[in-house]
């Protein structure tokens, strides 16, 4: 029990979110898939994210069967795989970004690649590369016994997802199992830019807070500063994915830098 407490106090994700909070704003979390358009540009774009206002960076592992992703991210990760991306390269990306920036760097991954490498081995290498932890879109706490043990052993954050459909019991269990922050899915759907942020998001955040979560970040469908501002009013962090992937696709690292700068203007909470 005390071990867990110690780790919580050293959570890299929690520290990054708390730092933003101390500055009177929500944290900005940017997603990029590793190896798209290539590993060097992922690293450069990750650094650009951190230098232009992102507090946490989420590096996705391209996977053959990304059931929680919409078309933009699917197209990017399919291309990365076609170009020969290997899972172990994600550690190079994490190491390169953490060595150049202060941002907390998490890896977002579907679960089978982790199982294949071995949950312990994957965790050890992620920690060694300076990674903060894992975001796991298709792993629920019910199935996570091995990951709970490995993340404790290596001091990694485990970011589970909660959704508008989560029952109060599941909300509680997921919040209890998480460390660093809880990922609130804003909408019943997959990743992809949307015109407006679902009204369900605020309810999910409130339910997660009520279940005891200290830090709740909202993702899915957030693509512009206006939406960031809306979410920053009630959440501890805002996660942007598809819009950044479209930016690197269309304008490379410079476009990622410009979009991040713009998104970060929405983070400051207006005085009530």
């Amino acid at each position: 029990m005390t071990g867990v407490q110690d780790i919580t106090s050293t959570s890299k994700s929690a520290a990054a979110i708390d730092k933003a909070r101390a500055e009177g704003r929500a944290a900005l979390i940017g997603y990029l898939p590793a190896g798209y358009p290539d590993v060097e540009q992922t690293i450069a774009a990750g650094i650009a994210l951190a230098e232009n206002g992102a507090d946490l960076i989420e590096i996705g592992i391209p996977y053959s069967d990304p059931v929680m992703d919409g078309q933009v991210i699917q197209a990017a990760t399919t291309e990365a795989l076609a170009k020969g991306f290997h899972v172990r390269q994600v550690f190079d990306v994490v190491r390169a970004i953490t060595s150049k920036t202060d941002a907390a760097v998490l890896v977002m991954t579907y679960w089978n690649p982790v199982i294949r490498m071995g949950v312990d081995e994957f965790s050890r290498r992620l920690a060694e590369a300076g990674g903060a932890g894992l975001i796991t879109p298709d792993l629920i706490p019910d199935e996570a016994a091995e990951w709970m043990a490995a993340s404790d052993k290596y001091g990694l954050d485990r970011v589970f997802l909660v959704a508008p459909s989560s029952s109060p019991e599941r909300m509680k269990r997921t919040v209890d199992a998480s460390r660093g922050f809880v990922y609130a899915v804003s909408i019943m759907g997959v990743t992809g830019a949307r015109e407006s942020v679902s009204s369900a998001a605020e309810g999910v955040v409130a339910a997660a807070h009520a279940a005891g979560a200290e830090r709740v970040c909202v993702g899915l469908g957030v693509s512009n500063a206006g939406q960031v501002r809306e979410i920053a009013a009630y959440a501890d962090g805002v996660i942007v994915g598809t819009a950044l992937v479209a930016a690197i696709r269309d304008g490379g690292v410079d476009a990622v830098a410009a979009l991040t700068k713009d998104l970060s203007t929405g983070l400051t909470r207006e005085e009530a």
Binding site: S64, D65, W111, V114, D142, A163, S165, R170, R173, G189
Partner: protein, 452 residues
């Protein structure tokens, strides 16, 4: 109620299971899930867990409701045409070592395969949950046609996801689904085949789960699907067991079925799981051969992993990326397999072996010529396997010599689950056997793909 949140078993500690079973102190029937040994579970996005809970709850209540059970029995009898026959295949059997071969005729069901058993059950559950729309994935189109059929019968909206490659190769089945009122959506992501159709159906489900039921077509996926799909197919094994006792006066020596995701197989196996004298065989698609890399022999060559919601054997590379499968039979062309099969393989209760495309096609032709039955190419894998099993049983009987203890080959009995009929496969078979006029449209299409 919410299902108790049990933690997943972390290791495969099932070594003693087969022994315990053989000593008679453990039944393998009616395994409830979510876990089958270390397989199964719910490796799914949180967004879908509430829907899986609702489905499980609805299913458990329905099973205990005599009205539901009667509804299924009535549809099976008066709509699907059950019980399906058990036909002795005497001329075919001469090629299987001279043992007795019986065919469980799922090919005679309405829509032409076992798939109807599952879709009627799930469509009724969808109605019980108040859902107005069903979605399904399909490879060759059999499950899509069955789903469209059940939706038409019960007044549900139906959307079928099908790999873009498959919609082209199975244009007639696309037309069948549309005639039945379904919408067919070609899937262009990933490898554009069955596994990608499942991915796309899951994406649809997450977004529309309030009014939509995902009518999964095989005994795979997240709990409760494997146990639930098996439940709707158990009728195959129950009938077959009673029929063989009636027709032959004893249990068979072996039961054979083909394995795609494993639904027809688990349905017939279930009837015999607790009969230690019955050997059980599952035949996977060996494609061009298991050493060519072009196959769908998931249990034979795969490694445990998670895909589409369950932990099970899986065709994957060293990075855990799913490997594309290959088979002449679209219905077996899937890189995963239902978790209960992985468990039955590990404990040694069921033996899984690969059958190549050409072995399956030889058996296909043999059944046509000896029995006047055109089997589905999927089912032809089971037939090819049964030939091998029959020959082995005959060899054993011979080796035992004149001593009557082991019995004669002609006393041995093998049951084959003939999961479907081959009407859908006529063009593929014609191409395979070179029966097409070189300039015909069919020959043209046939060149482009393995499945017409």
């Amino acid at each position: 109620m919410v299902r108790p949140m049990v933690d997943a078993p972390t290791t495969g500690s099932d070594e003693g299971a087969a022994d315990a079973f053989l000593q008679g102190d453990r039944s393998l029937r009616h395994a409830p899930g979510p876990y089958f040994g270390s397989y199964g579970g719910r490796w799914m996005p949180e967004s879908l867990i509430a829907a899986l809970d609702e489905l499980e709850d609805t299913f458990e209540k329905a099973k205990a409701d005599p009205e539901f059970v009667a509804q299924i029995a009535d549809l099976n009898k008066n709509y699907s045409g059950r019980p399906s026959l058990l036909t002795e295949a005497k001329r075919f059997a001469q090629h299987a070592g001279g043992v007795r071969v019986f065919l469980k005729r799922e090919d005679l069901n309405h829509t032409g395969s076992h798939k109807i058993n599952n879709v009627l059950g799930q469509a009724l559950l969808a109605k019980r949950m108040g859902k107005t729309r069903v979605i399904a994935e399909t490879g060759a189109g059999q499950h899509g046609v069955a789903s469209a059929t059940a939706a038409a019968l019960l007044g549900l909206e139906c959307v079928v996801y099908m790999g873009a490659e498959d919609t082209r190769r199975q244009a007639l089945n696309v037309a069948r689904m549309e005639l039945l009122g379904a919408t067919v959506i070609p899937v262009t992501s990933g490898s554009q085949t069955l596994k990608d159709a499942i991915n796309e159906a899951l994406r649809d489900w997450v977004a529309n789960v309030g009014h939509t039921h995902y009518l999964l077509g095989t005994a795979a996926g997240a709990h409760p699907f494997p146990a639930m799909v098996r439940y709707f197919h158990e009728v195959i094994g129950e009938e077959a067991r009673a029929q063989i006792l009636d027709q032959a006066g004893r249990l068979p020596d072996a039961v054979c079925a083909c394995i795609g995701g494993g639904s027809n197989a688990i349905g017939i196996f279930h009837g015999f799981l607790d009969d230690p004298s019955v050997k059980i065989y599952g035949f996977e698609a060996g494609g061009d051969g298991v050493d060519t890399g072009r196959h769908a022999a998931t249990i034979t060559l795969g490694k445990p992993g998670v895909l589409h919601g369950a932990r099970s054997y899986l065709m994957q590379d060293d990075d855990g990326q799913t490997i594309e499968s290959h088979s002449i039979s679209a219905g077996l062309d899937y890189p995963g397999v239902g978790p209960e099969h992985s468990y039955l393989a590990d404990i040694g209760r069921v033996t899984y072996e690969p059958i190549t495309d050409s072995e399956a096609m030889d058996a296909f032709r043999l059944l046509c010529r000896t029995e006047g039955i055109i089997p589905a190419i999927e089912s032809s894998h089971a037939l090819a396997g049964a030939i091998k099993v029959g020959q082995r049983l005959a060899a054993e009987a011979d080796a035992a010599g004149a001593g009557e203890a082991a019995g004669k080959a002609s006393d041995k009995i093998v049951i084959v689950n003939l999961s479907g009929r081959g009407d859908k496969d006529v063009a593929t078979a014609a191409e395979w056997f070179d029966l097409l006029d070189k300039n015909s449209a069919e020959a043209e299409i046939g060149k482009e793909g393995e499945q017409l």
